[in-house]
């Protein structure tokens, strides 16, 4: 009996310590959201910027006190969608090959290989983009891309960066498809490709969509690699894929060091951060919705 009390206390201590850790993490996240929201909303509520002018304004010219975030919003979405477009077929194709065609090769050789790409730091991708991809673009398009920097270069760099994310998650998604499905399809006389196309991909669709969204999340939030290759032109709307532009993250990196804390410019930058924060919450929401739908479909 005497032994029981310390045990209960021990259990409480354990609960206390671990609970504290979780609470600390949650608290930091809440503080972050609160601070970004507070600073980011100051632009509208204290400095008096019109939100419509901010979100739909086509000119970001801080020295004229004009803060239209549309060029960066468009830039961010453009590089995200384009890079996903570039990366998706390749990622999906590789995932199908290593799961459906050559599973042993996939596990032993391909997986460690593609994980090497995940490990490469984003500044290193930026260096590659700056010195290799930009020069290539410049060489290919000549005067149409005088410096090589632009949305296209940014998208290519991002496509390489999100390729491993989408590939490995797609591989997991395909592996999770029960083997009975495949066997059933083969028993009906379907070829491997028919099985893959009509059965495996279809039943893995929700997880594949999650993989794509996670890739897009990474592309949308990627900072330095994009900033180093995109050209950094924020003052007006980009007019083409070879046009130098900027993204929300790039504008933040370039702007934060020049803005004085407390100024309208500084708050406007936080508003850009708030958009980034909101977008990552939206991405999480989409993933949850897909997950719920998938669960419903399977249940």
């Amino acid at each position: 009996m005497a032994n029981l009390m310390p045990k209960r206390r021990l259990e409480n201590i354990g609960l206390g310590i671990t609970g504290f850790c979780v609470a600390l993490v949650a608290l930091v996240v809440v503080t972050l959201i609160f601070m970004v929201a507070q600073q980011g909303l100051t632009t509208f509520f204290v400095d008096g910027l019109n939100p419509i002018d901010f979100f739909f304004g086509q000119n970001w010219i801080p020295e004229q006190e004009r803060y239209g975030a549309l060029p960066m919003i468009v830039g961010s979405f453009a590089v995200t969608l384009l890079s996903t477009l570039f990366a998706l077929p390749v990622a999906l194709g590789s995932a199908i090959f290593v799961v459906e065609v050559a599973p042993t090769f996939g596990r032993r050789v391909f997986q460690p290989f593609i994980e090497l790409l995940v490990g490469i730091p984003s500044v290193v991708y930026g260096v590659l983009g700056l010195y290799v991809i930009n020069s290539l673009i410049k060489a290919i398009f000549g005067d149409a891309a005088p410096t090589g920097a632009g949305i296209l270069s940014g998208s290519i760099v991002l496509a390489i960066m999100i390729l491993p994310t989408i590939t490995t998650l797609s591989m997991d998604a395909l592996r999770a498809v029960p083997n009975q499905y495949r066997e059933g399809s083969y028993a009906l006389g379907c070829t491997r490709w028919q099985t893959t196309w009509h059965v495996v991909l279809k039943s893995a669709t929700p997880s594949l969509m999650t993989a794509v969204i996670l890739g897009m999340t990474r592309a949308f939030g990627e900072t330095l690699a994009v900033q180093m290759v995109i050209g950094g032109v924020e003052r007006s709307m980009p007019t083409g894929l070879l046009d130098p532009a900027s993204t929300l993250t790039a504008a933040l990196t370039a702007g934060l060091s020049n803005a004085v804390s407390g100024s309208v410019y500084y708050h406007a930058l936080w508003s850009l951060g708030l958009i980034l924060l909101a977008m990552s919450l939206v991405f999480i929401l989409i993933i949850h919705l897909i997950g719920r739908k998938g669960a419903k479909a399977n249940g």
Binding site: V101, T167, M228
Partner: protein, 313 residues
């Protein structure tokens, strides 16, 4: 009559043959295309890594590059950045490993099935999807200004911790959940509390996976730059390895001094190039890449080694 039937059957079988041929060739073409894609991806990986290593090897292997300060007049080196990278990594791990361990244990062992738990899970998920520049700008206000730490290693390490926690919590959670149910049940049946079970049974059993996870996450943290620019600074610090004054900004161990990691140094040199800086960029990129690859390798080796030792016991 019979010939007519035969002809119809022949027609059908010809049709079937054609169909089979078509789907067969479709299958072959698809497999061919997939093979090409995989080949190209592997080629891309090799090309990227080889290109960086080849471009930077000359500089990285130049005697002095790894041991000289950045302002050396003959061979500008990266010793301070190397030190700062590793030191900041260690401070980050010292902060983030215990917190992640605690949080993961809570989520696996204690978490009541209520809104608190799901809120905590959502918080960690949010953290994992936050762009690192947002973490950086939050850090530049909260750690640097509100908490008054200034642009410092501590502020940088805390920003990196925010970046590292979701990765760590997920791997530790996974490792704990992968411990066979029977071990947990046996421990609980012997009258151990959940806490004792966790400490004495689950953690040792999950240790190889946890260590692997920590080393892998270290590789990620090591290459992170965006979260550091506005928290730990981007100017190369001047260090004095003989300094014994722990409050001096030149003391390598002072966690309240600004620091510049390898990754941040690369970013700074590309955004503010000087004569000859391109070569230093490639050299530094090579060193950074090799470090990250070594972390990967180390993670695999450690995982194998630990699990062998544990199973041998």
């Amino acid at each position: 009559m019979a010939s007519e039937k035969n002809a119809a059957a022949q027609g059908r079988s010809a049709e079937l043959d054609a169909h089979v041929r078509r789907i067969d060739s479709q299958d072959k073409v698809a497999t061919g295309i997939l093979t090409v894609i995989v080949g190209l991806v592997m080629l891309l990986v090799v090309a990227i890594i080889a290109y960086i290593l080849v471009r930077g090897a000359g500089r990285a292997l130049t005697p002095g590059f790894l041991t000289n300060p950045y302002n050396d007049e003959v061979v500008p080196g990266i010793i301070y950045q190397l030190w700062d990278s590793f030191y900041m990594l260690i401070v980050t791990l010292v902060i983030s490993v215990p917190i992640s361990l605690g949080a993961a244990i809570f989520l696996v062992e204690y978490a009541p099935d209520n809104w608190v738990t799901s809120a905590a899970k959502t918080a960690i998920e949010t953290l994992s999807s936050l762009p690192s520049i947002v973490v950086g700008m939050f850090g530049s206000l909260f750690f640097v200004v509100t908490l008054g730490w200034g642009i410092s290693i501590l502020a940088g390490a805390c920003a990196l911790t925010m970046f590292n926690i979701p990765i760590l919590v997920r791997t530790i959670q996974q490792a704990l959940e992968d411990v066979p149910r029977s071990q947990r049940d046996a421990a609980l049946a012997m009258g151990l509390t959940r806490w004792e079970t966790t400490i004495n049974v689950l953690l040792p059993a999950a240790m190889p996976a946890i260590v692997t996870g920590i080393v892998l996450s270290a590789g990620r943290v090591f290459g992170e730059a965006a979260a550091l620019i506005f928290t730990a600074g981007s100017a190369p610090a001047r260090l004095n390895f003989a300094s014994v004054n722990f409050l001096s900004p030149t003391n390598p161990f002072n966690i309240f001094r600004p620091a510049c990691s390898l990754a941040v140094y690369i970013w700074r040199l590309t955004s503010e190039p000087t004569a000859g800086s391109t070569e230093i960029v490639w050299g530094t990129a090579t060193v950074l890449l090799v470090c990250v690859l070594l972390f990967n390798l180390l993670a695999r080796l450690l995982g194998k080694l630990l699990s062998r030792r544990l199973t041998a016991e």
